[in-house]
């Protein structure tokens, strides 16, 4: 059944999904997905639960088979190859360490299956454990380790087999906030040192933005946008991407006309200029403006009444009503206090024209 195929494009792609679909009975979990992951990059599959990211992972890892389409790894069609022959290193959600084996036995399991010699095995296990800083705990059992140590052991077990692709399935979900931040940095560092093609599956946008070279945002079994963390955060293409990757003011604008390359769009009864072409005159367009891009000031065309203020420590959240349109503003607490912002007061809002993003989907 093993067939040789060239990948669908001529790039450095390490993992390619070509028209992959997955149905369970009548429900469609994945809709004709095309995706290519470059050699050595850390690619994050980001989406809410039920978006199809776990299904995608299981198809790539070989735990399930697509209903249609093909999966290529380094140019080889692996669609029908079982997981045990794919040479993927997987860090499972919850880690899935073997409870009855020590850390060293866990890490050595993949090498044992590859029938390596005892001495080479031992050496490779130790160097993997050193890499993750766990060499002093080789003889412990998983239950004797902390969450972070279990995470490292699972990582060592996945990388010791020198996999073609490293897959991280919600790797931080079992850890607390502080540990999560630390492990993000550490996993990223190890991944960059080994230059290992890595797929990170996560529902946590901070994790995806902070760790990945590129992010694919999934929603309802479909990829909505692929790009660098900065490009998907700052220029979201759809309402879903704009709101899932952080808070956003979703506004409705009407294209009034053009002034050179600047589109004049009316929002909340005022006209703003946006450096953007290709919009039909008179059309209604959905806009996204992130709360942290809005500044409070004394005077501006956008004056509104403060409806709500929520102190969040480093930042303060303010809700301002401008001509019946509600604006959410998030700013440094000290700066917001400096603007005499109190519930009921009148304040002005300002922002840079380029921070208003025109979304492509229909405004809801």
């Amino acid at each position: 059944m093993k067939q040789q195929h060239s990948p669908i494009d001529g790039s450095q792609a390490d993992v390619v999904l070509a028209g992959v679909e997955k149905r369970y009975g009548n429900t469609i979990a994945l809709r004709s997905m095309d995706l290519s992951i470059e050699r050595g990059e850390l690619f994050a599959l980001l989406g809410p639960s039920g978006c199809g990211k776990s299904t995608t992972l299981r198809l790539i890892a070989g735990f399930e088979q697509p209903s249609a389409g093909r999966v290529f790894v380094r140019g080889n069609d692996v669609t029908r190859i079982p997981s045990s022959k794919r040479n993927f290193g997987i860090v499972f959600q919850g880690f899935a360490l073997f409870p009855h084996m020590t850390v060293a036995q866990n890490v050595g399991f993949g090498l044992r299956m590859r029938k390596l010699q005892k001495s080479e095995m031992k050496q490779r296990v130790m160097s993997a454990l050193e890499l993750v800083g766990l060499d002093h705990l080789a003889d412990r059992y998983p239950r004797q380790l902390s969450g972070g140590q279990q995470q490292r052991a699972a990582l060592a077990r996945a990388i010791v087999i020198e996999p073609d692709v490293l897959v991280l399935d919600e790797p931080m979900s079992a850890l607390d906030k502080i540990l999560r931040d630390r492990m993000q940095v550490e996993i990223r560092r190890i991944q960059q040192r080994l230059k290992m093609t890595t797929i990170l599956v996560t529902h946590d946008q901070e994790e995806a933005l902070g760790m990945a070279d590129r992010v694919g945002v999934l929603n309802g079994g479909r990829i909505e946008q692929v790009g660098t963390p900065r490009s998907i955060y700052e220029t979201p293409r759809t309402t879903f991407v704009a709101t899932f990757l952080g808070a956003s003011n979703l506004l409705t604008g009407k294209v009034e006309g053009y002034d050179g390359a600047q589109a004049a769009i009316s929002v909340a009864g005022r006209v703003i200029s946006i450096p953007r072409g290709g919009l039909e005159r008179g059309a209604t367009v959905p806009l996204s403006l992130r709360p942290e891009k809005i500044r409070l000031c004394a005077h501006s065309p956008f004056m509104g009444k403060v409806k709500e203020m929520t102190y969040k420590g480093s930042t303060t959240y303010v809700e301002v009503d401008v001509n019946g349109v509600s604006f959410a503003i998030s700013g440094d607490s000290a700066q917001i206090r400096g603007q005499h912002c109190e519930v009921g007061n009148l304040v002005g809002l300002e922002w840079d024209a380029r921070d208003v993003v025109v979304l492509e989907d229909v405004a809801s």
Partner: protein
């Protein structure tokens, strides 16, 4: 108030269950010739006498062998069923669950009766009939702990083993089985104990050369009526049962 109701309910139940049994167990050590209370003295003579009755001795041995053999089969069959159920959903999975638990509520004596008629017609011997009956009756007792043990073992362990290069067989043997070993042990002890004390179906199937201890004790009591011999033999049975359960708890203890 509510607390008192609870306490008295527990007390009544304990009294009903434990006192009569305890009295019989105590009588087995009587030095007298009859059921009397208080005991005239302590002795083990009734155990010796029970042992010297060849039918009791032989049926005890037969019961042990039958329990060992049938429990091994029950556990293996239940393990297959439990593996299927814990790995798959759907109609078939629910059917297997129901099928495996049917003997728990289904009248055992009717199974005995059915096998009796069936084997009489087919001319198969009594031992096979007993083996089948004991396997079927003890399967539910193996099925439950096995399903529980498998449900506590995340599927991701097996997937992890497979992603590291283990085939289906090695991932089961090297990874899954060690997780459920305690459950298998518990299941086996349960099956042994159930088979060892089964009477309802056995009564119909037992015959010369295939006589279990409970049936033997029943007919001994009916025809010879030496109650203290029966008490001693029962006590031996209870002690073996308790010993097995204790052992099971010790050897196959979780964690």
């Amino acid at each position: 108030m509510r607390r008192m109701v609870l306490y008295s309910a527990v007390g009544i139940s304990a009294f009903l269950t434990l006192v009569p049994i305890f009295l019989v167990l105590v009588q087995a050590f009587s030095a007298g010739e009859m059921l009397t209370f208080p005991l005239p003295g302590l002795s083990v003579k009734w155990f010796v006498r029970a042992y010297t009755v060849p039918e009791i001795r032989e049926s005890f041995l037969f019961s042990v062998i039958l329990a060992v053999v049938s429990s091994v089969f029950s556990v293996m069959l239940a393990l297959c069923g439990a593996l299927y159920v814990s790995r798959n959903g759907g109609v078939l999975s629910r059917l297997v669950t129901i099928l495996a638990l049917v003997p728990l509520v289904f009248p055992a004596f009717i199974l005995g009766l059915a096998l009796l008629f069936f084997f009489k017609a087919g001319g198969v011997n009594a031992k096979l009939g007993l083996l089948i009956a004991h396997i079927v009756i003890s399967i539910p007792y193996a099925f439950r702990p096995l399903v529980e043990a498998l449900k506590e073992t995340p599927l991701s362990l097996e997937e992890a083993a497979q992603s590291l290069g283990a085939g289906p067989l090695s991932s089961f043997v090297l990874v899954t089985f060690p997780q459920i070993a305690a459950g298998v042990g518990t299941a086996w002890v349960f099956c042994f104990v159930v088979s060892f004390s089964e009477l309802s179906a056995t009564l119909f199937l037992a015959g010369p050369g295939a006589m279990t201890l409970p049936v033997e004790l029943f007919s001994y009591l009916e025809f010879q009526g030496d109650q203290l011999v029966v008490a001693a033999a029962s006590t031996a049975q209870v002690l073996l049962t308790l010993g097995m359960v204790f052992l099971g708890n010790r050897v196959f203890r979780r964690r």
